[in-house]
Symmetry: C2
Subunit: 232 residues, 2 copies
């Protein structure tokens, strides 16, 4: 069947669940890669497992990388508060406290190592510029630089593409695409704050809720509280 | 005293021992970074510890990264034999079986994360193009691509330099520079094959021995056997 392999970064969130669905839809033999990097929201990893198991995945690897020891992000350092409200979510003016230094650079490096060993031609990463506005390593120029690094840092016969299907897509479009492809969005997890039910208040929950609202469908995961609601 | 910080990749080999000595000599506050990546030659890590302890090092971190699980290199996969003789060590024609996919890319990504958190302006990596002829991620163009990635993948106020002082230096010149600076070369380790005494036969030992011979000084570490000797 599928004779083309791809490595898919699978965080367990909405975007990566849909990214995996795209790779499957394009007939890739899918190798899913998840990182346990000291993030607070460990339920994401459980979500990644369920998403990988929900369809044909050739292999799913969970790699431990200790970013927490470097500290300095609200996502890995429990002494920094995760912002509940940034006011203007579209602001590019400042880098959020949830920014983890070099996170995507490290993730992609592992994906590259695995892709080269597998002989995979493609790496999928479901980053979304809207979502991560202000993160330097979620910009188009950054991924272009990474592509050049791949070309120069691998064997001459290795030609690996780095695919970012959602980079310029609105979050609601990602939800729509996910639904279209039958991605298991009900298994995905985005909340930074809670593990049992999504808080509905953190930045990640708000972006997600807003996307489902715009897409005109209810978010299938359980929430404790929903901010704003109809009026927002 | 030192108010400028640098992250130094410290493998425990000759080149990294000398690189650390350079950073110290240039009055950097030194943060040494070593990886336990499933390499066969674990004595290198012990060597890194001793080298870090041998002088002023602000901090030494040893990070576990599981490259062995990706396999496909003689350095991490015990089913692949480490070459004892490549014939022409200067040959650029093929990539050695000791090449570990994306190794430098992963190492530098961690160094970058740490540097950004520390507010360090410099990352030192003691790679040497002669030594690693044929490794795509030891070439000048590769490091230039990495520099661009650093610029684009970090906060706008972050300006991290990536320094490769030995990239175009002969191995004998590295030995000479190490001796000049009083680098603890007697604590460094290069052998791919043995842990008690260096084998003197593997590619890494042969490069090292040849460098000391060219520099006109004896290698201070213990060897089981030395190939070639005077005549080589």
């Amino acid at each position: 069947m599928a004779d083309k392999k791809a490595v898919i970064l699978l965080s367990g969130g909405l975007d990566s669940a849909t990214t995996l669905a795209i790779a499957r839809d394009e007939d890739f033999e899918c190798y899913a890669l998840t990182f346990r990097y000291g993030q607070r929201h460990k339920r994401e990893i459980e979500a990644a497992k369920k998403i990988a198991d929900s369809g044909a995945t050739a292999e799913h690897r969970i790699i431990d990388i200790d970013l927490a020891q470097f500290g300095s992000s609200a996502l890995t350092d429990s002494t920094i508060e995760v912002p509940k409200d940034r006011g203007d979510l579209d602001s590019h003016a400042q880098i959020p406290t949830t920014y983890v230094p070099a996170r995507n650079t490290i993730f992609l490096s592992y994906a590259l190592a695995w892709a080269e060993v597998l002989g995979a031609f493609d790496i999928f990463i479901g980053v979304n510029a809207t979502d991560y506005s202000g993160y330097p390593d979620c910009r188009s120029v950054y991924f272009d630089a990474y592509r050049r690094l791949i070309d120069l840092g691998t064997r001459p016969e290795t030609h690996i593409r780095l695919l970012t299907p959602f980079l310029h897509l609105g979050k609601a479009d990602i939800v729509r695409r996910g639904l279209e492809l039958g991605a298991p969005l009900h298994l995905s997890w985005s909340c930074y704050e809670r593990e049992d039910q999504a808080c509905g208040l953190c930045e990640s929950c708000r972006l997600r809720l807003s996307a489902f609202r715009q897409a005109g469908v209810p978010d299938p995961i359980p929430y404790v509280a929903q901010r704003g609601g109809k009026g927002e």
